[in-house]
């Protein structure tokens, strides 16, 4: 058990290190950032002076070393555009994106998993076909379009929910639905397949032969066995949610890091972009680490290293 955890944590550390290295070098591939910062018509001397002041004239390896040293001190640098610490700029946006991601996960898990279970247990029924149509709809609507449809219907026509912004809990509803729909479909399909797969196994027949109802057999045995692929997909879907957040936050003017990323790219505020990418990557690595730990909690064979 401890070895399993230690191994996974080690892998997560290596992955994170790889990510921050890639982020650093890929950002530098986009050219000399000094040129983005100087006013038009600046002289070569002025550019060189600024370049020196910002440290961009040092060899890349030296810059990389300084970047790592800053990171180790949790110093993310200062935005060259906003002239404020990057940590603060990104940090104040993070709670919004976290709230949005949590809302979407509630939508996705809360609807997707029961729908998937129902589709598997009542296979071939009218209910399954109705749910399949619902799931297919969720899967087929692009977020930027379904977001606008939602705004038109619930925000403009019915006036039930605010059309944009982040002023109340109500503001969270539509972005969560728009962002969670696709993930919900993925969960529903994955859960259906996982549960169907388990239902065909002998232990289900054996459980029923000792007097369990189908519902009890599903509740006591099938769901736990079906959970492993679903946990895997959940961890991977967090990445998709964060990517989708860029679009949804723009559509709904939600002040999260997705919106910040778009704004910073437009403003060429590359230290902020770099930090956003780093944050998303760390969250992604972290969720997959949690998934690995969850496997061990679910499955004794992994826990005991069999």
């Amino acid at each position: 058990m401890l070895r399993h955890i230690a191994g996974r944590v080690g892998q997560a550390i290596v992955a994170t290190f790889g990510v921050l290295t890639m982020v650093f070098f890929v950002m530098r591939l986009s050219g000399d950032p000094t040129l983005l910062l100087v006013p038009e018509g600046a002289t070569a001397e002025q550019i060189a002076a600024l370049r020196h002041q910002l440290g961009f004239d040092r060899p890349l390896v030296v810059q990389y070393g300084a970047y790592l040293a800053d990171l180790a001190r949790l110093d993310l640098g200062e935005s060259l555009v906003q002239r404020a610490p990057v940590a603060g700029i990104v940090g104040e946006r993070i709670p919004y994106t976290m709230a949005l991601a949590a809302g979407s996960l509630v939508v996705a898990l809360g609807i997707g998993i029961p729908a998937g279970i129902a589709m598997a247990v009542w296979r071939g029924s009218v209910l399954e076909r109705a749910l399949a149509a619902f799931v297919l709809t969720g899967q087929s609507l692009p977020t930027f379009w379904s977001g606008i449809l939602l705004i038109l219907l619930f925000g403009v026509n019915l006036g039930w929910l605010p059309t944009s912004g982040a002023d109340s809990l109500g503001s969270l509803v539509m972005p969560s639905v728009a962002l969670g729909a696709l993930t919900m479909s993925t969960f529903a399909r994955m859960t259906r397949i996982a549960v169907l797969d388990e239902l065909s196994r002998d232990y289900v027949a054996a459980a029923r032969a000792r007097g369990l109802s189908l519902a009890a057999a599903v509740g006591r045995h099938v769901l736990r066995n079906a959970a492993i692929p679903v946990v895997t997909v959940t961890a991977l879907e967090v990445g998709n949610l964060l990517a989708g957040a860029v679009i949804v936050e723009t559509v709904f003017a939600w002040p999260g890091i997705g919106q910040l990323a778009i704004q910073s790219i437009a403003a060429r505020d590359f230290l902020v972009v770099q930090t956003v990418v780093l944050f998303v990557s760390v969250v992604y690595v972290g969720t997959n680490l949690l998934a690995d730990l969850a496997y061990a909690a679910i499955d004794p064979r992994i826990r005991m290293g069999a």
Binding site: D202, D299, P300
Partner: protein
């Protein structure tokens, strides 16, 4: 004679239009082991599933009555049926490791048959594990199926099936997936428990060796019908159905001349689509005549408590 623990009468099952089990009937007395023998696909496992009323959705029951002791159970509502399963009517399966939930402990699954948690039923579960020959039951009770061998898992399955003291145990090929030495141990265990607890056992197998080991009586099935039934010794000594005779002849024996050819039954079992009006074995039968292809031979008494579904039963050698 005591009342049979289980009586199955005129059981017929169909997949679409194809009658895959046709008029099957048998009975088992308390403490008796009845072997239901036949090739794969002859309908023996479906028969057991029909008795449990756990047939796959594609299978339709056309006819059949099942009596458990004095009670007719074929028309019971599912809720009542569920109360009987595991308590008065149990079943064990071919792949013991697959038949146990890999994520639940041994104790949890055995206790489940009592509708209790391990914490509630620990002493009973422990005792039952001991009775099926599991050493160190105190440790095993908290282990997971992957920590146990196949034979051990089958013992756990037997414990699960018998802990509520059922009147009938349906054992579907319980030793097929096990090593030969383990097979013998599991068969001995089943035989002993059947006698001690007066449980009626329906042992489904394709292995005549298994039959000879533990069965009191045999029902031979061919293509969804009973071909012959009777006491094991009588059937082994003098079969009264050509299929049984050929089945027995195809068992290799130590006294055979080394490298001599084994007897084989020519041809293959007809598929349900090929079933004609007559005897389903007629196409492969050395004794078949024109009549056999036209009329279904009824199961009839051929002496010594034996029944045979063959017009030529008296000529079988």
């Amino acid at each position: 004679m005591t009342q049979p623990a289980l009586v199955v009468e005129d059981l017929s099952l169909a997949i679409g239009p194809a009658q895959v089990v046709d008029g099957v009937g048998f009975s088992v007395a308390p403490g008796e082991v009845l072997a239901l023998v036949g090739e794969s696909g002859c309908g023996k496992s479906l028969t057991a599933q029909a008795v449990m009323r756990l047939l796959p959705a594609a299978i339709r029951q056309v006819s059949g009555r099942v009596r458990l002791g004095a009670e007719e159970i074929s028309a019971l509502p599912e809720r009542r049926m569920r109360e009987l399963r595991g308590r008065r009517l149990s079943m064990i399966f071919q792949e013991p490791q697959a038949a146990l939930d890999p994520l639940a402990t041994v104790g949890t699954q055995v206790a489940e048959a009592l509708r209790l948690s391990v914490a509630q039923a620990r002493p009973q579960v422990r005792k039952m594990l001991e009775d099926v020959g599991i050493s160190d039951p105190d440790r095993r009770i908290d282990q997971y199926p992957f920590e146990l061998s196949g034979g051990m898992c089958q013992r756990v399955m037997i414990a699960t099936a018998l802990i509520s003291g059922p009147a009938v145990l349906l054992a579907d090929e319980p030793t097929t997936a096990l090593d030969v030495t383990i097979q013998a141990q599991i068969l001995d265990l089943l035989r002993r428990l059947a006698t001690e607890r007066q449980t009626a056992v329906v042992l489904i197998t394709h292995d005549m060796g298994v039959v000879a080991d533990i069965a009191d009586r045999v029902a031979v099935m061919y293509a969804g019908r009973i071909a012959e039934t009777g006491p094991t010794e009588a059937i082994f000594a003098a079969p009264r159905h050509p299929y049984t005779a050929l089945l027995l002849a195809s068992i290799p024996r130590l006294s055979d001349v080394p490298k001599s050819k084994l007897a084989v039954i020519e041809g293959r079992v007809p598929t349900p689509a090929e079933f004609g009006p007559g005897c389903r074995f007629a196409g492969r039968c050395p004794l078949a005549d024109a009549h056999c292809a036209e009329a279904t031979p009824p199961l009839r008494s051929v002496g010594d408590g034996r029944l045979s579904a063959c017009f030529h039963a008296e000529r079988v050698r």
